[in-house]
């Protein structure tokens, strides 16, 4: 009896000891693990696959290297990516020829793929050939940097690689730092290519063959991705591997749950909370909240310039003066962003060559009525205002305010809430008269915005304008080598924008990164996701 009791007791002690011993081990591995929660999900391991999500982009930045990457700079005390500073990633250094038509990359001698084989110029060529030839997303992106054909890429020796451009293009080099031109282990990829799929698109969707900072440990599309550190990786700025041993990217659809997880310390960082949750978490002060204006993004109220009544310039102007900007800004974003209204232009000329820029518009119903009268519609008209379900949390209060305010100048607005796919289809077909949408540019230079969002018969030209002068200036500015002249062109483009008012920029929403106080190094990136390689724990 006694011995039985003793045995039981020692058993209990042993179990307790085990539990206690296991606890610190688990706590330590937790400290070396980054758990990132998001409302979206990762659907492919190759960001080039049509339909890939932004979360997939973020994962690919950790699993693959590119030739170059963007540096970072401080903007109002917060770290953001720096378009003008291009650092080497797989390239140790690069030279641009004096005529700016040739870029030569010198690859790192010590760079290895995750399977241990060295990264060679052959791999770089195969990867970039793939990006411009295969039917994938890289093609359209690299086109904006004048890279369109495999003939432009040349292997000089195993560690030297050359890109030839038809024209000097400022955006060629930055383009190679974007998400798509990943450098793939060509031997592995070729071994898994098939006759119908020579670029191994299907295989790379579910497997990685890169040299990046993290190795995929498990990938459950739509649920979670777990990555472990690539110890050999040394492309980070201090020459060492990434900080976290493991990274867990997990989909948690409900924003309130994400907020709870971060607040309880179970998750380390998230960037897509609702503005109201961010507000309350920030006021509690227990978490680190870094709000960066998304300076490469804009939210618009767009009007279809091709159909009545918005084909009338005075109707568009009337709308611009009839929007309750301040109320909308507070109701939709809780003021978390940079307003693009209410500017003062002393001599009626734009004060900045940057795009997006604040326009001198405010709520002024008398002015709006006058414009409406000038348009020949003093009694107003009826229209619908659309937004997509995915943006309902910001667009719904905004739409209600638009409706209320426009009713005062006689414009009757019906609010229409569309499922996301339906909204994008109707925008693409230019069927929506009046709606709100946002845009984002990876390479936010002035001409890039105007060329992509104000020209052509394509989805991103929301207002559907075709202004010959604007098109001509924007195309010329793209290849303008002289900085002062470029500035001049940019100012002209901004002036045209205000004069013809194709759509009304409202604001740049903040990216609110909410993280545990121990997380450091967060940088706002062009792709608006967290780059896990930036982060470390104090």
């Amino acid at each position: 009896m006694r011995s039985g009791y003793c045995r039981a007791l020692s058993g209990v002690v042993a179990v307790l000891a085990l539990v206690l011993a296991a606890q610190p081990v688990r706590a330590q591995s937790r400290a070396e693990t980054l758990r990132y929660v998001t409302g979206a999900s990762v659907n492919t391991l190759d960001p080039n696959v049509p339909g890939s999500t932004r979360e997939s982009f973020a994962v690919s930045l950790s699993t693959y290297d590119r030739l170059v990457s963007f540096g970072r700079k401080q903007l109002n005390g917060k770290w953001v990516f720096d378009l003008d500073k291009i650092n080497g990633e797989l390239a140790e250094s690069y030279d641009v020829s004096p005529d700016k038509l040739k870029i030569t990359f010198h690859l790192r001698k010590d760079a290895k793929f995750q399977d241990g084989t060295p990264v060679t110029a052959e791999d770089v060529k195969w990867s970039l050939d793939r990006a411009v030839t295969a039917p994938i997303l890289g093609k359209a992106q690299l086109l904006t940097g004048s890279m369109t054909s495999a003939d432009q890429f040349r292997v000089i020796d195993p560690l030297t690689f050359e890109v030839t451009l038809p024209k000097p293009d400022k955006l060629a080099l930055p383009n190679l730092a974007t998400v798509y031109p990943i450098i793939i282990n060509s031997k592995v990829a070729k071994a898994n290519a098939t006759a119908e799929d020579p670029w191994a698109i299907a295989w790379l969707k579910e497997h990685t063959a890169g040299s990046g900072a993290y190795v995929i440990e498990s990938f459950k599309p739509g649920e979670q991705v777990i990555m472990k550190r690539n110890e050999a990786w040394n492309r980070g700025t201090p020459e060492k591997s990434a900080f976290f041993k493991r990274v867990i990217v997990q989909s948690v659809p409900e924003p309130a749950t994400r907020a709870n997880l971060v607040e309880r310390g179970d998750a380390d960082i998230t960037v897509d909370l609702q503005a109201s949750d961010v507000q309350s978490l920030e006021s509690k002060g227990t978490l680190k909240v870094i709000s960066t204006p998304q300076y490469n993004a804009v939210t618009f109220i767009s009007m279809n310039n091709a159909i009545p009544p918005f084909d009338n310039i005075n109707v568009r102007r009337a709308i611009a003066y009839a929007l309750p900007y301040d109320d909308m800004f507070k109701a939709a974003l809780f003021g978390r962003g940079t307003p693009l209204f209410g500017a003062t232009w002393a001599d009626g000329k734009p004060t900045t060559s940057a795009y997006p820029f604040p326009q001198p518009v405010t709520l002024d119903l008398d002015k709006a009525r006058a414009f409406l009268k000038a348009a020949g519609m003093p009694d107003g008209f009826s229209t619908t205002f659309s937004f997509n379900v995915g943006q309902a949390s910001t667009a719904e209060p905004m739409a209600a305010l638009v409706k209320e305010s426009l009713a005062r100048i006689g414009i009757k607005v019906d609010i229409q809430k569309l499922p996301d796919a339906q909204m994008s289809t109707q925008i693409n077909e230019k069927k929506l008269p009046f709606f709100t949408e946002g845009i984002v540019a990876w390479l936010p230079s002035n001409d890039y915005f105007y060329r992509n969002f104000y020209t052509g018969d394509q989805r991103w030209n929301y207002s559907g304008i075709k202004d010959p002068e604007l098109i001509a200036i924007a195309q010329a500015a793209r290849f303008e080598p002289d900085k002062a002249k470029y500035e001049e062109d940019a100012l002209k483009l901004n002036a045209i924008h205000f004069a013809i008012m194709p759509q009304i920029p409202l604001w740049q929403p903040n990216q609110d990164a909410v993280m545990a106080p121990s997380i450091e190094g967060y940088t706002y990136q062009f792709h608006r996701q967290v780059d896990y390689r930036d982060l470390s724990r104090k």
Binding site: T33, A140, Q250, E254, P419, A421, T425, Q426, Q458
Partner: protein, 342 residues
């Protein structure tokens, strides 16, 4: 044994006779998805530079460049071979997605139904035994609350109390804590797989993860089950055979359980079958709130992005589940009341 064989044969015949209905559902969903406004190709070609060319590539990939009748024939041919197409949203084959997600939904729904039945039947019986009493009103109030609070509200409320305030529940993110390793997948039901693997810690972790969402769903369906139990118990308690049983002096327990409840259980089974099918498809809010990787949230996401294949696959799956559940309910009928045959 012979009776069992006959039942199986009849069940198989019943199943065969529902095949035309399944086929109709298949064709109808296919056409419905194509009639809906919203072009998946445009939606998925949403890269910052995606133009006409990308849209065409996706359209071709999805087979949308062909005329609709041809698409339908190809689809039917594929379904015949067990291929439900590919989801653009997850990049996986729909059959694979559904196979991974259906057990998650089933596990959650079955647990919820079990909780609901275990609490609803006694509540209904208690209410019926003393109609108009304090207990009866209490049950009515409880049921009313359960029904009128939407599941995402009760879900968020339960998370707030048990996870956020008290810290009793694990974080509400899916079927298992991210730091726990999964058992080898045999059935897809974590509760069973962990037991088969002999991993009791894992089983406990999965159970803790499951209990909150299951309770949320159960709260919502307790009301219909309890109300129907109460109503049919009232009828059978007032019937002649119960009065006879009482008059011959049988014990109260014996009367209530053996005579009254067994006779009153038929409508409860029917309702439970319907409730189960509805829960499986309509628990999308619970799945969203608890990040549960189930089929309903999968289908909703697919519908919002006009991803045809997963929606069609989901509807087909739900129709099949409905057929099977109805069959099961009929078999249970036969057990509860031997006079009923299917």
């Amino acid at each position: 044994m012979k009776g069992f064989g006959v039942t199986v044969l009849r069940a198989a015949r019943r199943f065969m006779s529902s095949l035309p209905a399944l086929f109709g559902v298949l064709v109808f969903t296919f056409l419905l998805m194509r009639v809906l406004p919203g072009d998946p190709a445009v939606f998925f070609a949403s890269g910052p530079n995606a133009g006409k060319e990308e849209i065409e590539v996706i359209r071709k990939q999805m087979g949308l460049d062909k005329p609709v009748p041809e698409q339908l024939l190809l689809y039917l041919y594929d379904v015949g071979r067990g291929n439900l197409g590919r989801s653009l949203m997850t990049g996986q084959a729909v059959t694979k997605d559904l196979r991974e997600r259906l057990p998650a939904s089933l596990e959650l729904t079955l647990t919820a139904l079990l909780i609901a039945l275990v609490s609803a039947v006694p509540l209904g019986v208690l209410a019926a035994l003393k109609p108009g009493s304090f207990v009866d009103h209490g049950v009515r109030l409880f049921c009313a609350l359960g029904v009128c609070v939407p599941t995402f509200v009760s879900g968020l409320l339960l998370i707030y109390v048990f996870y956020y305030l008290l810290g009793l529940a694990p974080d509400p993110t899916g079927r298992i804590d991210v730091f726990t390793s999964l058992p080898p997948s045999r059935t897809g039901f974590l509760m069973i797989d962990f037991l088969l693997a002999g991993d009791l810690d894992g089983w406990w972790a999965a159970f803790r993860q499951l209990i909150l969402p299951a309770a949320t769903m159960a709260l919502f369906v307790i009301a219909p089950l309890a109300r129907i139990t109460r109503a049919s118990m009232l009828v059978s308690l007032g019937s002649d055979f119960v009065r006879t049983a009482r008059s011959v002096g049988l014990s109260g327990w014996h009367i209530v359980v053996t005579y009254a409840l067994r006779n009153a259980i038929l409508p409860v089974i029917t309702i439970a079958g319907i409730v189960f099918s509805t829960m499986l498809g309509a628990n999308v809010l619970v799945e969203k709130v608890y990040s549960w990787p189930g089929v309903a949230s999968y289908a909703l996401d697919a519908l919002l992005s006009s991803d045809y294949a997963p929606v069609q696959g989901f509807v087909l799956l739900m129709a099949s589940v409905f057929v099977v559940v109805n069959l099961l309910v009929d078999v249970l009928y036969g057990i509860a009341d031997p006079r009923v045959s299917i």
